[in-house]
């Protein structure tokens, strides 16, 4: 096939590079969601630790 003129080839080339960029952006946004989940889990973990330390403080006071 003869080479496409620049006007016709441009949208195809742009589409191919946009596919690449879109894939990376989708991937990064999925990773960002996972990061949000990790952050939430860290929050839950610190709550657990706080509850534990409160309970142990109460036990210490009872002993005193």
């Amino acid at each position: 096939m003869p080479a496409l003129p620049l006007d016709d080839a441009g949208p195809y080339v742009a589409a191919a590079y946009l596919v690449f960029l879109a894939l990376i952006l989708i991937y990064v946004s999925i990773m960002a969601t996972k990061l949000g989940r990790i952050e939430r889990e860290i929050g839950e973990l610190s709550e657990l630790v706080e509850r534990r330390s409160e309970r142990s403080d109460e036990r210490d006071q009872e002993r005193v």
Partner: protein, 243 residues
């Protein structure tokens, strides 16, 4: 285990290499004498294909390491390498279809060995996640997935060689003695694009390894703090859940 070490430098290197590669593609590399401007797709399509296939093979190599040592981190490495290679393979199929439509007038050519063989490799690896998900026991999941990754990883170079030996109808042979005779500017642009894509793969691989490892360690810490009875059992997942 820290997978995130050096991630910042890797991310900067990937961004820089890909930016330089794109600049070279559009401002330095000449238009192809035969295909004209449309050949610019080559610089994103071919590096993505090479890196995706190498990623599948790397998944097989980590799977061998996992079977030899029983180290769960190697199972995680193998899983993530295959996962990212699948994402790149989707990109290869899409950019290839766009290029095919512009060059040959068709989105897909079924009697072209290069295209069909890549689709077969993609579909083969598309079974990897469902296979993992179908097995509940983590030990068996890792072992069966490793066997799959090794067999499929060995299939990739065999498939590549078979396609090289087959007669090409329309798809050009890029890395051959005749088809690979690119002018210096095109060769340099291609090498930089390939290096950028490889660096991006390693960055995303390390990024996901760090994320998966962090969530596995967090979950295990939470279970230890709350006691196993205090939490619901782990949901079934295709991804490794233990390190």
């Amino acid at each position: 285990m820290t997978f995130g070490r050096g991630l910042r430098a890797l991310s900067i290197a990937s961004a820089a290499l890909i930016t330089v590669a794109f600049a070279l593609v559009f401002f330095y590399a000449p238009n192809d004498a035969d295909q004209g401007f449309i050949q610019k797709i080559f610089y994103v399509h071919v590096p993505m294909a090479i890196v995706a296939l190498c990623g599948f093979v790397a998944g097989g190599v980590f799977a061998i390491k996992h079977l030899r040592s029983g180290d769960r981190a190697d199972d995680l490495r193998s899983y993530v390498a295959i996962h990212i290679s699948l994402v790149l393979a989707v990109g290869v199929l899409l950019t290839g279809s766009i290029w095919a439509r512009a060059s040959w007038g068709h989105w897909w050519v079924w009697d072209e060995p290069t295209l069909v063989s890549f689709l077969i490799v993609f579909l083969l690896y598309a079974c990897y996640q469902p296979l993992r998900f179908s097995i509940e026991d983590p030990e068996r999941q890792a072992r069966y997935a490793a066997v799959f990754a090794i067999v499929a990883g060995a299939f990739v170079p065999l498939n590549f060689t078979a396609v090289r030996m087959a007669e090409s109808l329309t798809h050009p042979r890029v890395l051959s003695t005749t088809g690979g005779a690119m002018p210096g500017e095109m060769r340099l642009t291609f090498i930089v694009a390939l290096a950028g894509m490889a660096c991006l793969f390693v960055t995303l691989w390390r990024y996901e390894l760090a994320s998966k490892s962090a969530s596995i360690q967090l979950r295990s810490l939470k279970r230890r703090l709350a006691g196993d009875d205090g939490l619901a059992p782990l949901n079934r997942s295709a991804a490794p859940q233990h390190l």
